[in-house]
Each structure stands twice: as C-alpha cells, then as structure tokens.
C-alpha cells in the first residue's frame, strides 16, 4: 500500500489492516457456520414440535439457541436465515451497484441535457409508490426469491446513482481529466480508466451503507408479508418475529439480531478497510 502523506499512515495502515482481517474472518466464519451448521444439525428448519415450543437456549439439551413458538430449532433457523440474508445482500447489492454506478457516472460525466433528463427520470422514480410496485411484482411473478432480489436492487440503485453522479461531477473538473481529454482519450475510456477508479472509494463506502439498507428493506417487506416466504426465512424475518415475542422468549430476538448486527458491523469495518486500500490518492499519477 502506497502512502502519500507523512509518518502517520503506516501505523494506521497496520491497525486498519488488522481490523479488516478480523472482520473478514468473522464474516467468513459466519458464512461457513451457516452452511456447515445447517447440514450438521439434527434439526430441520421446518420441523415443528408442539411439546418443545418456547424452550429457552440450553447447551446440553440440544436446542442451543432454544426454540420458537412452534418448537422449531432456533439455531438452525438462524443459520438458514443468515444464508438467505447473505444471498439477498450480495445479489441485490450487485444489481443496485451495476445499475446505479453506470447510470450515475454517465449522467455526471456527460452533464448538460443528458444529465438533466437522466436525473429527472431518477426524480420520477423516487416518487413512485414503491409498495405498490413491490406488491405488483410479488403478485404477478409468484413470489420467487430471485425476483425479490432484483426488485430490491432495482429500487435501491437510485441513491447510488445520485451519489455517483455527484462525485463524477466533482471529479471531472479535476486536472487529470482535463489532461486526459487534451491528450485525446475517448470519453468512455476516461470514464472507465480515470473516473471509475476514483469513484471506487466513495462507492465502496456507499456499498457498506447500502447493504444494511437492503437487508433492512427486506425485513420491512417481511413485516408487510411480502418478504421471504415460509419455509424459507431470513434474519430480517426472524428479527421481526422476535420483536413481538421479545418478552415471552427473548432469545428469539437476541440471537438473530446479534447475528444481523455482527454481520452489518463487520461489513462496515470491512468497507472502511477496503476504502483505505483503494484510496485514489495512492494511485494518483
């Protein structure tokens, strides 16, 4: 990692690196656990047992995280929910990023009429009653998980586009862009080689802000009954179930919420670390 300023950088760099590594490992651990745990556990995600409902967590008794109100093992369900949440986060973010960055960069770079029209379109989309949009999609396309990812990502790209556009506008005023243009580099080459890498920093930070948004949006959809359907579950769905049973069975909230919080915290610190690595300053000509 290049440093461009004085002595302080290396010390921070090491610390940053350590934290990044810890978070990366934590996320990997959760991911691996979510897969291994669901396979290894004797309980299934959907096995109902009325005699064992609302049991508290007990290490010896078999149900490590306890059971829910239908007697289903919470450990397995939390892990399964983690899997789905990971999936949602990745896919929806990809969709959101691809659309948003492309759109925002083009709008910001070309400016003028193109920018005006594109941003007016964004304004128009913002004002859409997104609930109807989602209801409609869910109904017409019969609630497939894939479609939900796409729907969430498609709703989310608007913020990314705005931010990217803003940054692109600032960036294109910079000296190196003018220099490239003078030399005769094509517009798209400029976008791809000069603007995009410099966007990476803020985009990465924005990604780590978007993922929680996406995950929370999914839990809001679950809350409305439009999210992940039984027997699938997500951390968002588990958390929203857990809230209403907060006093009766606190473990139903505690475990999924902890997993969720840890995941999001790690994603955030990871984002920070990545930002350091991709800092455009160090790649400056």
């Amino acid at each position: 990692m290049k440093t461009s300023s004085g002595n302080r950088r290396p010390r921070y760099a090491i610390l940053g690196n350590r934290l990044v590594v810890v978070c990366l490992l934590a996320l990997l651990a959760i991911a691996v656990l979510s897969i291994v745990g669901t396979i290894a556990s004797p309980y299934s995600v959907e096995e109902i047992s009325f005699d064992q409902n609302f049991e508290g967590p007990s290490l010896g008794g078999g149900h490590w995280f306890g059971t829910d109100d239908l007697g289903r093992d919470l450990f397995v369900r939390t892990l399964k929910g983690t899997q789905i949440t990971f999936l949602i986060a990745i896919v929806a973010t990809m969709v959101s990023l691809v659309i948003g960055v492309t759109y925002g960069a083009i709008a910001g770079y070309f400016g003028g009429k193109i920018d005006a029209i594109m941003m007016r379109a964004v304004d128009a989309l913002y004002a859409m009653p997104f609930i109807f949009f989602v209801i409609l999609l869910m109904v017409v396309f019969e609630r497939s998980l894939t479609l939900m990812f796409i729907a969430i990502g498609a709703i989310n790209w608007l913020d990314t586009a705005r931010i990217v556009r803003g940054q692109t506008i600032s960036l294109k005023q910079r000296a190196f862009v003018d220099a490239a243009r003078m030399v005769g580099v094509s517009n798209f080459a400029i976008i791809a080689r000069h603007i995009a890498p410099n966007l990476l920093g803020i985009v990465i930070v924005y990604v780590t802000l978007t993922i929680p948004q996406i995950i929370l949006f999914e839990s809001f959809l679950s809350f409305l009954g439009l999210g992940v359907q039984e027997p699938q579950t997500s951390l968002g769905a588990l958390v929203s179930e857990g809230v209403s049973r907060m006093e009766r069975a606190p473990w139903m909230l505690l475990f999924p919420a902890s997993f969720l919080a840890v995941m999001l915290l790690c994603l955030n610190f990871l984002g920070d670390g990545l930002r350091d690595v991709f800092d455009p300053k160090s790649a400056k000509a």
């Binding site: 109100d69 359907q229 039984e230 006093e247």
Partner: protein, 543 residues
C-alpha cells in the same frame, strides 16, 4: 468569503438552537389534556376506522365509535340483552309482518332537536338507496319493496317504512324475520340527521358537522391518532351516562397497544396479542378479559374445482386430520375454543351442532381420516398436493404451518403455504379460480343463527366456497318462513348438520374477545357480541 464561511457554521448553530427552542414551545401548546379531566375514558380501537358515516361503515372499529355516537330503535344492555333504545316500546303483528314503534318524545339530537320518526324514514331510505351504496343495505332487505329498490332501482319512497306521526313509526316486511329487532340494534340502522346530510353530503360525518343522537357527540378526529367524543347533553338518557369524555385511540400495532396500556395511557385495549398473552396473564390477570365471541376461524375449500369438487371424503379426511386442541392450546393459547361445528356457542335460541367425530379419540380420528383419504383416491405414493392461502399475520402463518405439519404427519399430504396480502387474497377467494384451501373467518352481525348459516346458501355473495346444496337451501328457506321459534330452531340445526356433513369448510376455532381493562373502569361486562358501549361504563374516582 472566509468570513462568510465561518459565519455559516456559526449561523447554522444558531439556527439549530432557535429551531429547538421553537420546537419546545410548539410542542408545549396544543398538547393533549390528559390530566385535566379525570373523567376521560381512553380506549383503543385498533386500526383506523374507515368512516363515521353509519351507512358506509363496515369495520368493527367504525362500529365501536358509532355505538357511542348514535342509537338505533333497539340496543343491547351491558350484559348483552336486547333492550329498548330510541324506541320506548313496540308492537309486532301476529303474522310478523308489521312492526309499530313508539319513539321516545324526549329523545334529542346533539343539536337539541327532537328525534322524530321522519328521521328514521329518511335514514332507512338512505340505507337502501343504491346511490348510497351501503354495504349493509342487506340488513333491511326484507322490508317491503326494499329488494326492488336495491336491485332494480325502484323509487326509494316506496320502502315499507312510514312515519305515522312525529313519534310513531311503522315498518312493513315482505316476509317475516324473527330476528328483525336485533337488526335494529346494529349501527347501520342508526338514524342520520337529514338537514345535515342534505347540506353537507358525505362530509356530514366529519367532526364539526356530525349531529348524533347517542350518548356522545363528535368533538374531533385526528386520523392515525385519536377520535375524541364528549357527552351529548341532549341525550335522553344523559343522566345515566357517567363518563364525560371518551377518546378512541388508533393503535395499529398490537404490541405497542399493550405497552401503551401498561404505561397507563389506555384504559381499554381492543385486543391482546397472542405473543404477549401468556406474560400478561401472569403480570395482570385481573385486567385480562377473555370471553366467547361470535366469530369462527375456518379454512374454506374451493368446491368449484379439483381437488375438492365432488370429493366429500377428501374434505372430511383433511378436517379430521387436524388436531384442533393443539392449535388452540399451543399455537394461539388465549382461551379460544376448538371448533367442531360451524356455529360458535352463545347464539340465542340455538344449540350448536358438531361433527360426528368431535368426541372421537385422536387415534380413531386419524385412522378414519386415513381411510377416507385412501377412499378419496390418494395415498402415500400418490399424495395430495394442495395450497393453503392466508393473509399476512403471524397467527395465520403459525396455524397454517401447524396444519401443514399435521396433514403431512397423518396423511402424507404435501402442502404449499401461500401468504397473500389481504386484498389479493380476497380477490382470489371471490374469483374462485386459483384458491384451494383458504383461510377466512366469519362473525355474526347480530345474535341469530341465520347470520352464520345464510352465507353458505347458494348464490350468497359471501359464500366463498361455492357450496351449493339443495337440501341445505331448502332447510333454510323453511326456517325463514317458520313462525314457531322451536320449529325454526329445528330446521336451522338440521341445516347446520347438513353443512357439517358436506364439509365445504373446515372450522378450526371459535374466537374469544380479549381485552385489557384497567381497574379504573367499572361496569365492563363480557358479552358474546363484544359490544361495550361507553355509556354503560364509569370510572373509579381517585381519592
């Protein structure tokens, strides 16, 4: 420039401080006057009522508020007995076709004017007028010429309701209706003040416009927050109204509602969530009021399409495979009762019927279920694949999961659960194209067996199953024309038996009404319609 930028932060800070100061000032005034009147009842309604127009209102929330605002010819007492209200007495002809009501001369609207028979005539006409498009027009459908008016647009003043004098009202029916007086206690038959409706149109139901003839008048309505009522001093029975002001709060979230009760902001809650129930039973057992309620939770079966079309044995097998006791005890657990029949207990002049297998042991039931399943054409190698549709709710989901497990364990049925948003489900249920098993419920608008049995008649719009049985229909016809109450009861019970044999629906449990009622409130009596008029209640004064 620098100077300006420095000032920017400075001015931002000052702006923020000023805003905060304004905020505190604004929030200080216009606040509620919770502490000022000790004689205020704080009740929760649950979700927002759609309207306070008696003729347009459909929801139970609206009905609760309307019962405080208005009064019909008859009403219910606190214990659930039918009593005289706006009418002080009445006479019914021997053939049951002519009703004569003598109204109370001292009855007044909230603006001081007299409540006259002409007002009732106007209101009933408005109810059946197709232009009003009242959902409960069918309550008066048995009045002479009502059907012609509703269905063919006949002249509204041909309705068989007449004001003989200021305080004498006669109603002629096209056919005898044994429970007609009960219909007149329902809020859809409450009168409206004609000059107000003529002047304001639909806006007559707004705060500031609404003139009411009940114990309270409408002060204010803030959508999403609260509907405030205060005492109608002109009400004929005002002397017996103890509470000065009633605030009906909107509380769409059940957990939040309970917390508001615990924090002392509510005296009465509309419901008690399943999740909190067990804890509250420990924490405040005296506040918990649970009582049987006239509503049934059922799984309807679409009889117009396979797999249920013409396959009674399959339908019965599925019904027998469900362990209702477990659902009621483990999945919900608020004291609901397992439903082995269609009619909830507590209906006047009626003994509810039950399935033939209601007393069988679980093992026997399951054995019979498996036999019927095989006979209906399915087996473990050729399992039934079926969909259960339900609308969004934790409880519906848990019950569906339980039923799914039970059908799988006992019969090997492969069930898919489909959660749909309410109106989507409704549209599907009405179309009868894609539904197979769907969750629904039915509650009685009035306390008579017909309120539950009529909807399963062929052609009844609320018959979501498509059930159409000649015997059933003719039994109901005979009951409708039967003057003798005992014979009528027999016909109705036979009809229910027939219904249960055919299994177009799988009743799961009978509802209970559940409320948290604070110890401040005196006079709360459980009743099977769950009507709790504020005028019957009073508050304990603190010393």
């Amino acid at each position: 420039m620098q100077h300006f930028r420095a000032n920017l932060t400075h001015s931002l800070k000052r702006f923020a401080a000023a805003f905060l100061a304004c905020a505190i000032l604004i929030s200080g005034c216009g606040g509620g006057d919770n502490g000022e009147f000790a004689n205020v009842l704080n009740r929760s309604l649950g979700p927002e009522p759609e309207t306070l127009d008696v003729h347009a209102a459909l929801s139970t929330q609206a009905a609760t508020v309307l019962r405080d605002l208005g009064e019909g010819l008859t009403a219910y007492s606190a214990s659930g007995e039918l009593v005289a209200a706006a009418a002080e007495r009445w006479e019914v002809s021997d053939d049951g076709l002519e009703y004569k009501f003598w109204l109370r001369p001292e009855a007044r609207w909230s603006n001081g004017e007299s409540v006259t028979a002409e007002h009732f005539v106007y209101s009933f006409r408005r109810l059946v007028n197709p232009k009003t498009a009242a959902p409960y027009a069918q309550h008066l459908i048995d009045i002479e010429n009502a059907e012609a008016i509703v269905k063919k647009g006949g002249p509204v003043d041909s309705l068989g309701v007449n004001a003989e004098s200021d305080f004498e009202l006669t109603i002629r029916l096209a056919r005898s209706v044994p429970y007609f007086l009960k219909l007149l206690a329902h809020n859809s038959t409450y009168p409206v003040f004609p000059p107000s409706v003529e002047e304001h149109g639909p806006a007559f139901a707004r705060a500031g416009n609404l003139i009411s003839n009940g114990a309270y008048k409408l002060d204010d309505r803030t959508m999403g927050a609260v509907i405030s009522l205060s005492r109608n001093e002109h009400y004929w029975n005002n002397a017996n109204t103890a509470i000065d002001r009633v605030r009906h709060f909107i509380a769409p979230d059940e957990t939040a509602e309970v917390n508001r009760f615990r924090a002392g902001e509510l005296d009465i809650t509309e419901t008690v969530s399943t999740q909190m129930f067990a804890k509250l039973r420990e924490e405040m057992p005296d506040a918990l009021r649970v009582a049987p309620f006239l509503q049934v939770y059922y799984y309807g079966l679409n009889l117009t399409k396979p797999p249920f079309k013409g396959n009674r044995k399959l339908r019965q097998a599925l019904s027998m495979a469900i362990d209702r006791e477990t659902i009621v005890d483990k999945v919900i657990g608020r004291g609901e009762q397992a439903a082995y029949g269609w009619m909830p207990p507590g209906v006047n002049n009626y003994d509810a019927m039950t399935f033939t297998y209601s007393t069988q042991s679980k093992a026997d039931r399951h054995a019979t279920a498996r036999r019927l399943y095989l006979e209906s054409g399915y087996s473990l190698r050729n399992p039934l694949q079926v969909e259960i549709r339900y609308n969004t709710s934790q409880t519906h989901k848990n019950i569906a999961l339980a039923v799914q497990a039970m059908w799988r364990d006992v019969l090997g049925v492969e069930t898919t659960l489909i959660n749909e948003e309410f109106r989507v489900l409704l549209a599907n249920m009405l179309a009868r194209e894609v539904t197979q098993v769907f969750r629904s419920s039915w509650s009685g608008d009035y306390n008579d067996a017909s309120s539950f049995l009529d909807i399963m008649k062929s052609g009844n719009p609320s018959n979501l199953t498509g059930f159409s049985d000649e015997d059933y229909d003719s039994l109901l016809e005979r009951a409708a024309t039967q003057m003798d109450p005992l014979f009528r009861q027999v016909y109705l019970e036979e009809a229910e038996t027939r219904l249960l044999e055919e299994h177009p629906v799988i009743p799961i449990y009978f509802y209970v009404s559940k409320h948290l009622v604070s110890s401040r409130v005196i006079g709360w009596q459980d009743n099977v319609l769950d009507y709790h008029y504020s005028q019957h209640l009073s508050l304990k004064t603190n010393d």
